[in-house]
Structure formats: structure tokens, C-alpha cells
Symmetry: C2
Subunit: 206 residues, 2 copies
DNA sequence: AGAATGACCGACTCGTCGGTTTGTAGTATT
DNA sequence: AATACTACAAACCGACGAGTCGGTCATTCT
């Protein structure tokens, strides 16, 4: 009976992975359940045996895949105890690198879905916003800690800095989709570095 | 015979204005031609008398409405000869204010459509990208001029700064859609001010 | 007045998509 | 061996949406 459950979960997992891939590529409303099923060579019956609806399916994708990916790509990497702005730089440099190679980076996936569901599906929006909040809260606390540990200027506004970083990151991803992603990444990172330098603590505790 | 043309253009204009409104609110693929027609109390026949297809209709909206709005909201306001960063601040402060009141601001409209059409409709993407390019080229040249006129540090990377401003603006609009738009606008503008201060010319020519 | 044309109506086609229902091969249970 | 349940398959339903088409009616031209 553990075997049973394993099979069930394997199929659901396959559906979710392919689902996220297609939803990301074509948009949620532009991807039919059949598109996903065809790719997996499964039938409608299989889908509605495991999920209540397309919406339910998508929410499970958010909870199972999106949340974890955002965690591992945008949250965990900045949680070390080294110099705060170095950590942030490395994290976002890395995240943008996946974008250059046209892979899914999950900060952008998030931004895409938010603009797709905003004002259209409050239920899904709530789940997406929860992820944004987790990201934001974490970034704020990382910056706060940077202040305590002497890396960041004590006068810096942690909420403001976090918002600015998140905004510029999500925005540059939109601008990288068509034109010279690699050059734009480089330019963007240079400016982000300047910005982070400007809020570093000038008289670090020795 | 001029009367004729006037009637034609009036109807087409009404369709486009309502079309943009609904496309913005619900997305392009999520808005049916009938939705627009019902709101205007017009029929399918009227629509396909004036436009070849839904796509043709949308492209005309871009050329007639979007381009001009971006011009008047994001390009013209920064073209004065006062202090460059002041002009930029005022322009984006103003653009975000419309966002706070849930109106259409056209930087965001642009970002929304880009993420909706990216990878799905190359033809429309081309038109949207053209607007982005116009915006970018203009912002770069404004910063260049700011350097010549002594407002901006000569060592600043104009392309980088422009990209950073555009990115952060488009990004913060996404983050303003659900949570505390007014507070986020304030925080964002503070950080933008800091960033612009950091590239101002420290020894202005007297 | 009669013909032509511009602007529009509304019914219809044809395809798509979310969701339902019925059936069934394999596996586990009793 | 009979039963029941899991994990699907396949056919189907109703809606909705883009685009078509024959027709209408007022205005303009001749």
C-alpha cells in the first residue's frame, strides 16, 4: 500500500513538473489541461482522478514546486553570515544567469504569474502573494542582520532596500526576455553593486 | 465625405479605448471580442468591418494608444533642461501615483503585455519591444545630457543607469498590485532618490 | 429618383477547453 | 475464487470564442 501511494505521487509529480513548465512557457489560461496530458501521454481521466480542477492543480504546483524553488534560489543563498551585499550579489547574479540561458528562474515565474492572475483570480493571487511576502520578509531580516553585524549602514531603510532589490530584479527579468540578456545582466549587476555599495557601512567595526 | 471618415474614426477610437481597458484588466487572451462589443453595444459585424482580426486590432491599439501614452508619461516629462535626477524623480513619482489610485499607468501596462505575449506572439512582441527601445534610448540620452550639463557624474554608465531605473520601475509596479501600494511607492521613491544621488556630479560646474 | 456605398446587425460555423461519465486492466483484500 | 479498489482510458457534453456571411438601413452621388 506504500507502493500504491508511491505510484500516485509519482504521477502527480510528473503532472506538476510538466504543468509548471507549460504554464510558464505559454501562460496558465493559454495552456489547456490536454496540452499537459498529451505531453505525458495521459488522459483526462487520470488528471481528474488526481485533481479536482485545473485551479486546484495549479495551487498544488505553487505549494509544491514554486515555494521550494523560490526558497532554494532566492532565500537560502542570502542566509549566510558573510558580507551581506556580497551574498545578495552572488544570489541574484546566479538567479539571472539561469535567465540568460532561457531556463526558468523562479523570481520571474512569480512575476509572470502575478501579472497574469492579478485582478482575475483572487484565490491564486493570495498564494502567489504569500510567496512574495516570504521573500520580502526574509530579505528585510537579512539586511537588518547586516546592519547589526556591521556590514550595512545603520541608517539604511531595510524595507526600502529590500523592495528596491526585489523590484529591480523582477523588472530586469522582463527586460531581459527579448534584448541582449547577457549584456543587460552585466549592466544590471554593475548598478546593483553600486547601489549596495552606497548602503554599506563606511566605518566597519574592526 | 469628411463626415464619413469622422464617424469611422470615432467608432474605431471607441473600440480601441475600451479594448485597451479590458485587455489591461483581464489580459488579451482572457478578453473576448464580444466582451468589448457588449460594453459598447456594438456587434461582431462592426468589429470585423473595421479590423481584420483581434490581433490586428491589438496592434493598432499599441500604435495609437500605448505609444503615445508612454511618450507623454515616461519620455516627455524627463526632457527638460533642469537637474536630471529631479526630472526623473518627478516623472516616476507621478507615474506611480496613478498606480496607487489603480489607474492605468502605461509603464506597467507595457510590462504586463510583455509577460503575456513573450514567447507566444512574436509579431506583437516586436511592437511592444519597439516601445521599450524608444523608452530606453530616450532615457539613456537624457542621462548622457545630464553628464554633459554637469548634473550627473561623468563616470556613470548611462545605459546601466537607464536599465536600472526602468527595471526597478517595472518591478515595483508588479509589487504594488496587491500590497500597500502607497507605502511601497514611498519606500521605492526614497531608494530611487538615494540611487540617483549616488550618481550625481559631486563637483558641479559653477 | 435610383444606384451605390459606408456602417452595422445577428445568426451561424467550427474549433477549443474545462469538466463528466462510463468502462476496464491490474492489484490487493477477504 | 470472488470482491473491491486503484489508476487510469476514451468517449462525450456544454460553453464559449474567433471569424464569416447574408442582409439592412441611412447617407451620398449621379
Amino acid at each position: 500500500m506504500m507502493q500504491k501511494n508511491l505510484k500516485r505521487m509519482a504521477t502527480m509529480q510528473r503532472m506538476q513538473v510538466t504543468g509548471l513548465e507549460l504554464f510558464y512557457k505559454n501562460g496558465y489560461y493559454n495552456t489547456s489541461v490536454d496540452d499537459i496530458l498529451n505531453k505525458l501521454e495521459l488522459s483526462k481521466g487520470a488528471f481528474y482522478y488526481h485533481y479536482e480542477s485545473k485551479e486546484d492543480f495549479f495551487i498544488q504546483i505553487i505549494e509544491n514546486l514554486l515555494v521550494r524553488k523560490v526558497y532554494s534560489m532566492l532565500i537560502e543563498p542570502v542566509e549566510g553570515h558573510e558580507n551581506t551585499s556580497d551574498l545578495i550579489m552572488q544570489c541574484y547574479d546566479n538567479a539571472l544567469e539561469t535567465a540568460v540561458h532561457n531556463e526558468m528562474d523562479f523570481g520571474f515565474v512569480l512575476g509572470n504569474f502575478i501579472s497574469e492572475f492579478n485582478g482575475r483570480n483572487p484565490k491564486i493571487m493570495k498564494h502567489l502573494n504569500d510567496i512574495i511576502k516570504i521573500w520580502e520578509v526574509n530579505l528585510v531580516s537579512v539586511i537588518q542582520r547586516g546592519k547589526f553585524e556591521g556590514y550595512i549602514d545603520r541608517h539604511a531603510d531595510a524595507e526600502g532596500v529590500a523592495l528596491f532589490i526585489m523590484s529591480s530584479f523582477m523588472g530586469v527579468r522582463t527586460l531581459m526576455v527579448e534584448t541582449a540578456p547577457s549584456a543587460r545582466k552585466y549592466r544590471f549587476m554593475s548598478q546593483l553593486r553600486l547601489f549596495l555599495k552606497s548602503i554599506e557601512n563606511k566605518q566597519p567595526a574592526v
